[in-house]
Amino acid sequence: MKASNHLWKERLAGDIDEPLNREIDIFETEIDLRRQEKVDERLFAETRLRRGVYGQRYDNGQRHDGRVARSLEYPTANPTKGPNTLWDAPGMQRIKIPYGGLNGAQLEVMAELAEEYSDGIAHVTTRQDFQLHYVHMEDTPSLMRRLGAVGITTREACGNSVRNVTACPFSGVCPDEAFNVTPYAKALSRFLLGHPDCQNFGRKFKPAFSGCSQHACGLTSMHDLGAIAVTRRENGVEVRGFELYVGGGLGAVPYQAKLFDEFLLPEQLLPTAQAIARVFARLGEKKNRARARIKFLVHDLGIEKFKALVLEERDRLPEDPRWKQYLSEALAASGEESPQPAGDLSESGSPEYRQWLKTNVRPQKQTGFVVATITLPLGDITADQLRSLADIARRFTPDTVRTTVEQNVVLRWVRQCDLAELFQALESAQLARPGASNVVDVVACPGTDTCKLGISSSRGLAAELQHRLASKSAEMDQAIQDLHIKVSGCFNSCGQHHIADLGFYGVSRKVGGYAVPHFQVVLGGQWTQNAGSYGLPIVAIPSKNIPEVVSRLGERYVSDRNQGESFQDFIKRTGKLQVRKLLEDLAKVPGYETDRSNFSDWGDPREYSISDIGKGECAGEVVTAVEFDLAAAERQVFEAQVFAEEGDFQQAGETARGAMLHAARGLIKIEFLDVPDDRDEVVKEFRTRYFDTEKIFDPFAGPKFANYFFAAHRSSGNGHTPESSRRLIEEAQLFIEACHGCFNRMGLVPSAATA
């Protein structure tokens, strides 16, 4: 698209490491080949994904304009960039930033790329990456060359590969850490990048490092591979090691990582990761994407068996000099101490300055130095702000910043005595928002703004919540200020809703024949302890009522909590039943003719739709019955949660299973009113009518949710543990969502609504 695309190669010759340069040349050739249709579209799709070139909403050329689905007429109809992905449709470029570390030169290039290839905004993700949106396919090689010239690669930023290696943004300066994990994250990232043993995964693989177990910064429990720094004394000497976890993950059904080794020596880190990669590549699921993450393999094998296989594999690995070399090089280059002596902190200043000091500045373990957090609204930063940030990083730090999993940026090694000046510099760049890591600092995935899978507008909701909460933040109780809100546009959890105090994920519901954007309210998640536990959905509420959910829950927490009681404990003590009661009236949607505000989403006035398929024939009262069945099934899932909360896991599991059956029966009734009660018959009918015909297949997740139902049926009669009942509850909820989705796609409306 850019007229200068052919010139960058020559301009940057010699500035890019040769292997990376060569990779980009090859990618450019692959683009040419695909343009000539000499490469299969599926192969090309995976190729570009492995270079971080991702699809974006409406890239199939279909967009619902609030009335009907219309085709977007792009100049180039063929070839495609992948199945159902038009060549000209803009896409997203993900840029890997290992452990979130960037310098001024890299920030300046990011600014240039945001302006020249994107929309002027760079977006920080919940995994410390950057993303640029609305990027054209042909521009990506130039973009990659410009990044390559400042030492950044987009390789394996997406696709079935080892994704960005994340780490605490405070590593090296945090008073609570065992030791600085940065060099280890750096070495692992370098070692696994493009490694032959990591090219044959069925799904992605996400590693993370944390300097301690008690805080949330590394979120190791929700990663495929999580390493927590620990030390112990041996013969009077402090020895470093890692508590190594494997098989965690959020996604539709979250799994807590399992402890693989309580003290892995640093020199074993790279070979162990390599062995894990080999076992995952060899035994991990390949055909069924829904079960292809390593968490399923670990679960199916059991951690002991998995560990034994990995250790066997590790013993067989041929010695690789890079295991030691990469570590020692990273350790040697790990110093970033400020050369100047530190001075005293000045706490006097404007109220804005004092507020910012309170929420955005924390001490380092090195006396006299602090870390200052820059809160980015929804993770977005402009090109001009990136340039200002580069200047600020050079002026106030040893030319270093880190992105965070809360979609912010931190400045490390700031001298206390410079804080007032730093605040001024940030203010003039409009980067001095207070409220880092508190209730105002809402995290959100891209959702329906740009993500192909988005169901509700996570960013629209997050912006609205930020706006409302910021205006009240000064008078808010500290207990409220400390809460975390996270929003995902769908069940896939990119917004990490499971680990928030107040989590939300997008779902849709039909009301009177019209689709209404909703969010499931997810409560009970734990942010600290590296994402110590996951919340569960308790009720779906229309998007427009979510701000009221936040206010009600906040008020109730302030008025009813015990001294020092966390929000998580408060929800547990109150009980989901009571909480649900508190919110129940908000779940109601006034009719379409009475108030249309609920029928569009936040920040998007189009009448809401998640479907580009036209409405089908009317099925009158049968449809009403389906809706009734689906609602009843949801109620059962909720009851299952209450049983689990009371410790009756057997009953919880059985009720969740029953909920699935109820939802399935509801759908069958559309075609076969006299569906029998017998379980086997229901499963059989469901398989024939909805599975074999693929009607129940999710547009993106395929048969995944239907398979939950079949698996639940197969395992009936088995006992339930806390973990298995919890999983069944999650799966039941997702299966019911899939039934809602299927029903929506069928386009059935009550006769009254079609009149």
């Binding site: 200068s4 409406y58 609030g66 100049p75 020249e116 609305y134 977005d380 912006a463």
Partner: protein, 192 residues
């Protein structure tokens, strides 16, 4: 010197905070009606970003926005696809697109006069640092062409053109007139 990717922002006079929310349904309608020369794709809401792109109408060949960069409100046209013809034609096309946008917005009752379209200046730039690095040579090379373009619009000596020389920013020239621009006349003059 051939340039592509003209980026033109017409600064609007405004006092204080301006609510850009009404732009969202308007831009969605434009996508529905495909009411610009370009293929229109979507609407992006960046109101939460200070001094950001505001409300963006994403197109295939170009983006339009009501933009707050530099804390100044303006209508921006950002040409992404190549355009045939001479540089003069590209300048003309970009300004015409901006003025047409202003006219359409002005005529849209939903804004209810919330936005004023009076303007005495625009920033004419090139969104490509390789084709047009922001330095003296580029300015020396493009200055006669920009002069010729502005002479045609406003008449000689009826405007000033100042190079915005921050080397890290994209090449641009600020064109100012001592009087509010007569947008109807300009649109007329710029018609193909």
């Amino acid at each position: 010197m051939e340039i592509q990717h003209v980026n033109l922002k017409l600064h609007l006079r405004h006092s204080g905070v301006v609510d850009l929310e009404p732009l969202i349904p308007i831009f969605h309608d434009w996508v529905r009606e495909q009411s610009c020369e370009e293929t229109l794709v979507d609407v992006a809401d960046y109101r939460h970003v200070p001094a950001g792109p505001g409300i963006l109408l994403v197109g295939h060949e170009a983006d339009y926005s009501l933009d707050w960069s530099d804390n100044r409100l303006g209508v921006r046209y950002n040409r992404k696809a190549r355009l045939g013809g001479a540089n003069q034609d590209r300048f003309r096309q970009a300004l015409r697109a901006v003025l047409t946008t202003c006219r359409k917005l002005e005529e849209d009752g939903r804004l209810e006069g919330k936005l004023g379209f009076e303007s005495r200046e625009f920033e004419l730039g090139v969104n490509d640092r390789l084709l047009a690095p922001n330095n003296e040579e580029t300015y020396a090379s493009l200055s006669p062409e920009i002069g010729c373009f502005c002479d045609g619009l406003f008449g000689r000596n009826n405007y000033s053109a100042t190079h915005q020389s921050d080397p890290r920013r994209r090449f641009s020239v600020l064109v100012q007139t001592p009087f509010p621009m007569d947008r109807s006349r300009l649109l007329n003059d710029l018609s193909p």
